[in-house]
Symmetry: C3
Subunit: 276 residues, 3 copies
C-alpha cells in the first residue's frame, strides 16, 4: 500500500491514541478511558474509532481492526478493548505493527492485521505502568489506557514487559479453492449493507467470466463501481480494501438477500448450479 510522505517529521509530534471498543456509545466506559488518559497525559490527542462493536464478538472485531487500523501512521497508539476474558489469566499485550502500537487483550483481536505474524509483541506485565489499583473487570481503564498514555509520552516501551511469541492467533476463515472455483463466506456487512467476503478480489477477478452464488442467487454482473449498474441490481466488485464485495445498487444487499457473517459464497469462472 503506497503512502504519501508526511510533510512534518512525526518525531516532533505528539502521537495520537485511538480507541476501539465494544462498550457501546451510550455507556460511560469510553469516557472513563479518556479521563484516565487525559489525567496521566494532559497533552494527549485521543481519537475515537468505534465504541459500538458488537459485544464480545471477536471475529467481527478482528475484521474491523484489520480494516480500520491499516492506514494509520507508524507512531499511532491503538487501544482495542474487546475483552470477554477480563480478569481471568488471559494476558494483555502491546504489539508493534506497521500501523502503530496495538494495546489489546491476548485473544487474537489484532491478529488479522496483515503484518501480525511479523509483529514485535510484549506482555504487559510491569505493574509500575498500571493504575495503582487494578479492578477485576475493567483492565482497559486500569492497564491499557495508562500504558497508552505512557507510550504516547515517550516512555521506554521495553519496560512494559518481556517479548513473547506464543500470543493467541484468531483463525482467519481461509477460503477453499480448486481449478477456477472458490468457496468462501461473507465476513463483514458494512453500513450500506454491502457484504465483504473472505475472497481476495485480485485473485478471483483474474478470470474473464465470473459467477457468484450466494443465498440462492447467482450474480454475474461485475462492475468497477456502483454507478455502473442500474438501481436495484445485484453486483460483484472489488471492495476498497481488496475483498470480493456483493452489493445492491442504491439498496442494501445484506437485507435483500438475508446475508450475514458466515453465509457461504461460491465463485466460479464459468456458470454452474442453479440461480433464483
Amino acid at each position: 500500500m503506497a503512502r504519501l510522505a508526511p510533510k512534518h517529521a512525526p518525531e516532533s509530534t505528539m502521537a495520537i491514541i485511538t480507541l476501539t471498543t465494544d462498550f457501546g456509545g451510550q455507556s460511560p466506559y469510553a469516557a472513563v478511558l479518556k479521563g484516565v488518559i487525559y489525567t496521566l497525559h494532559p497533552e494527549a490527542r485521543v481519537v475515537d474509532l468505534c465504541h459500538d462493536l458488537p459485544p464480545q464478538d471477536l471475529p467481527h472485531a478482528a475484521f474491523y481492526v484489520r480494516e480500520a487500523l491499516s492506514r494509520f501512521p507508524r507512531d499511532a497508539i491503538h487501544v482495542v478493548v474487546v475483552d470477554p476474558g477480563v480478569g481471568t489469566a488471559r494476558r494483555l499485550l502491546c504489539a508493534r505493527l506497521c500501523c502503530g502500537f496495538v494495546l489489546a487483550p491476548d485473544n487474537g483481536v489484532w491478529t488479522w492485521l496483515p503484518d501480525a505474524e511479523h509483529a514485535s509483541v510484549r506482555h504487559l506485565i510491569n505493574a509500575a505502568w498500571w493504575a495503582p489499583q487494578v479492578s477485576h473487570t475493567f483492565h482497559g481503564r486500569d492497564i491499557l489506557a495508562p500504558a497508552a498514555a505512557r507510550i504516547a509520552q515517550g516512555d521506554d516501551i521495553s519496560q512494559v514487559g518481556p517479548n513473547i511469541s506464543d500470543w493467541v492467533r484468531l483463525p482467519f476463515p481461509v477460503p477453499r479453492t480448486s481449478e477456477g472455483r472458490w468457496e468462501g463466506e461473507v465476513i463483514y456487512i458494512d453500513g450500506f449493507g454491502n457484504a465483504l467476503t473472505n475472497l481476495c478480489w485480485s485473485e478471483v477477478s483474474a478470470a474473464p467470466e465470473l459467477v457468484v452464488e450466494v443465498a440462492g442467487h447467482r450474480i454475474a454482473k461485475r462492475v468497477r463501481t456502483y454507478g455502473e449498474a442500474s438501481a436495484g441490481e445485484l453486483i460483484v466488485l472489488g471492495s476498497s480494501s481488496g475483498w470480493l464485495e456483493i452489493a445492491r445498487v442504491e439498496g442494501n444487499a445484506a437485507r435483500a438477500l438475508g446475508l450475514r457473517r458466515g453465509t457461504p459464497v461460491r465463485v466460479s469462472s464459468s456458470p454452474s448450479g442453479k440461480g433464483s
Copy 2:
C-alpha cells in the same frame, strides 16, 4: 449571524478538519479517513461531526450540512462524504464558504448552505494531491482526505484544480405563499422528534395569529420555548436556527403525528380548514 471575535488569531493555529459521512458509525471507513489524514499530516486536528447520516440520502445530508456547518470558523476544513456516484464521472469539489472549505462530491450536498451561490468552487483535478492509487469506490479516502490534509498544512489551494461555476445545485423545496398563507413541508426530524419545516419563522411569525395544519392536526399554540406549554401539548415555535418548528412538550411530535420529511405543512394567519 453575529459572532464573538476569537481571542487568538486563527492564522497561528492549525485548522481543524471535520468529517461528515453516511458510512455508519460501526463501519471501519471513518477510521480509514482518520488514518489517511494523520499519516499525511501528523499534527492534524480531526473532528467528527456525524457518520450516521442515512445512506445516500442527499436532501437529508444537505439539510444536516447546512445546520451543522454554519457556526464553524472561516479556516475550518470540512470533508463531506455522501457519494452515491462514487467512481462515475461525477466531479469532486472544494468550495470556499464563510464556514470554511467544504470538500465533497459534486452532487449538491453542500449547496443548501446560506452562501453557497457566492462560493468560490474548484474542481479537484490535480492528481498530485491524491493518493498514489485511487480506487473506484472510496474517493473519500483517496482524494478528499488527502486534499483536506494538504489544505490544513497550508498548501496553495489554487493548485487543487480550476475554478468552476456549473456545480450541481440540489433544489431546495421552496414553500408556496400567498396573502397570509404558506404551504411548506417537514424538512428534518431531529433527535427529540421535533419537526423542522422549510418555512422561515421570522416571515411566518409576523402575523398576530397563526394556525398550523399538519397531518390532520391544527396547532394554534405558539410559544417561545417548550416550557411555556403543558406536557403533551403540540406547539409551534421558531427553531434555534430560524425555521418554523413543530414540537410536543416532553414528547416526540414526529412519532405522535406520524411526521416524516415531505409531510405537508400549511400555515394561515386566520383559522381555516378542519382540524382533528
Copy 3:
C-alpha cells in the same frame, strides 16, 4: 480513588472541553456546539463523551455523568446539555469539582458526582460571556459553549456570575437497609446488558454469603469477574466503579431478566424468599 501523577504540569496545557448531551448523534446540534467553540477558541481541544443520552431523562443522565466524568483531571471543562427547561426561568450553572468544571442547567444533572455537595457553584449570569444573541431554545449553543471556550482560554471564572448554594439537587435513590438486608434497585443498564444497582458493593459484599433477588430470580453466584462462571450463568459482582452489578456470563442480563431502571433488587446475607 488513587491517581498516577501526570508527567507534564497541567498549567502549561490547553484544557480539554468535553461534551455530553441528549441531542442524538444524528442531530446537527452537537456539531453546532463544536463550531461555536472552535470559532471563539481556535486552539480548543473538544472531546465528545456522548450525544445519545435518552432525551430529557435526568436520572439516566445524572448517573452517566457520575460514572463518565469521575476520572477526568481537575482542569477539564465539561459541557452537559440535558435541558428540558431551556428558555424558562431555570438557571445555568458552572460547578467546580474534583473532575473539573461542569457547565450545565440547574436541574441536578451533575449532582450525583461524589463531591457535588462540596462544589463551588456559580450562576452564569454575566451576559458579556454569552453569544450576542441568545435564543429561547438552545442555551447550550448560546451560553454554555461560549462560557466553556472562555474558561478554556483562561478567563477569570469569578466574572461568570455570583456564587450560589441553593442549586437543584436531584434525589439519589438511597437503598433501605436493616440487619444484613438491603433493598435497592437497578440504576443503570450498560451496553453489555449488565445491570448496575444503587447498592454499594464494598458494604454489601462484607457478608460471607450473599443472595440477590431480582425480577423473580435468586442469584447466589458471586464472582470477582465474568470468566469465573459458565456461559449463561447469572452472577453478582462488584462493578468497576463500586456498585453491586448483576450480569449474565457471555450474555445480556437485562434482556434475559427483563430488567430496567427501577427494578427492585433485594440482597440478604442468608437465603430467603422464593427463587425461580
